[in-house]
Amino acid sequence: MSLDKQQMAALIARDIPRGAYVNLGIGQPTLVADHLPADSGVVLHTENGMLNMGPAATGELIDPDLMNAGKIPVTELPGSSYFHHADSFAMMRGGHLDVCVLGAFQVSAAGDLANWHTGEPDAIPAVGGAMDLAIGAKSVFVMMTLFAKDGSAKLVEKCSYPLTGVGCVDRVYTDHATFLITPDGVVVRETFGISFEELAGRVPVKLIAPAR
């Protein structure tokens, strides 16, 4: 069976080292937070100026001054800190974040990331912190479905969408397989409900089989 988004989030959560400083991108990557064990010691960073962000706020805990990057009300955890935007992005750019998890439209075999703009002429472009995160975190994980709605693979030889960052992706977690972007090529770490051979036939990138 292929993985659903919660299973993908759980898989990513298991791969995040204990005690890591982590930024989870807007959208599906935020699900990863729900799968981190309570004793993981992982500290979540939000680009709008907070470390050790807690879960989403509900009811009386909702505070309009306490939001995450997706502008969802969140909470503090013991040991939280606040800082301004230039510091927040210095944390990214300066290589202080251990891991970020981002969504993507496409990832190339060389680890190029496209996740901010479809390139359609009437689309209003918006980039936010995606470019800063992509080049800044020590490890960049992508979480996406492997195939677009039209059936085409989103892991490609060369991105056709405008790039967010060049050669920045380390791993790609998808519903059908987990890929490692390495200097030797794209290594399939594991597959879900699909054989390596079938995967290799549907993804237009040279794939290296998982180590036995």
Binding site: N48, P64, L66, M67, A90, R93, I135, L163
Partner: protein
């Protein structure tokens, strides 16, 4: 000179000229100085360039300023949101310019302006459409893009408490762009929820020292 404590938001925004570059704090509505923006609408300055992370939410604050046709150009990182219909309409009608800047570059370019830095080499955006036409340089094996400061004529920021000198503290993630914008504009105007006597704020906790702040109004 210490900050002037104003009696009203209208007094606080007096004198902002047509054609000004206005830095407006806030990330979404957190830290957005809504009363100052409303006062700016009343004050009437037009042909503005606005620098802010987003391009307005709903129909109030920055969105209302845009709706009045006062803004010629938006410099921001994330204009498109679920409730950015005012900006979306103006952009699609060709009635507003957009200068899209990665969020960290937006912050760092204002920091550079405030810190007297002439330009800086930044790795963000290398090889992407947002770096096209910009000078690049390889330093120690990594490629960087030359980025220039963004300076404001005016900054409108939201803070939590000011003392009578203009020392500011913020609240939670409403801090966001406020401290950076406070350094980067000629005239810095802060909207706060409370003004207290000098000495009431813990000097160790002050985030924006009074040297950066020109006018304060309690909202």
């Amino acid at each position: 000179m210490s900050a002037t404590i104003c009696d009203s938001a209208a007094e606080a925004v007096a004198g902002i000229e047509d054609g000004s570059t206005v830095l407006i704090g806030g990330f979404g509505m957190a830290g957005m100085p809504v009363e100052l923006v409303d006062a700016l609408i009343g004050q009437g300055a037009k042909d503005l360039t606005v620098v802010s992370n987003n391009a307005g939410n709903g129909d109030t604050g920055l969105a209302a300023l845009l709706a009045k046709g006062r803004v010629r150009k938006m410099v921001c990182s994330f204009p498109r949101q679920s409730d950015s219909w005012v900006f979306d309409g103006l952009y699609r009608a060709g009635k507003i310019e957009l200068d899209l800047v990665p969020q960290g570059n937006l912050a760092e370019r204002m920091r550079a302006a405030g810190a007297g830095i002439g330009a800086f080499y930044c790795p963000t955006g290398v090889g992407t459409p947002l770096a096209e036409g910009k000078e690049v340089r390889e330093i120690d094996g990594r490629t960087y893009v030359l980025e220039y400061p963004i300076r404001g004529d005016v900054a409108l920021i939201g803070a939590h408490v000011s003392d009578r000198m203009g020392n500011l503290v913020y609240r939670k993630t409403a801090r966001n762009f406020g401290p950076v914008m406070a350094t980067a504009a000629e005239l810095v105007i802060a909207q706060v929820s409370e003004v207290v006597e000098a000495g009431r704020l813990d000097p160790e906790a002050i985030v924006t020292p009074s040297i950066y702040v020109d006018r304060v109004v309690a909202g």
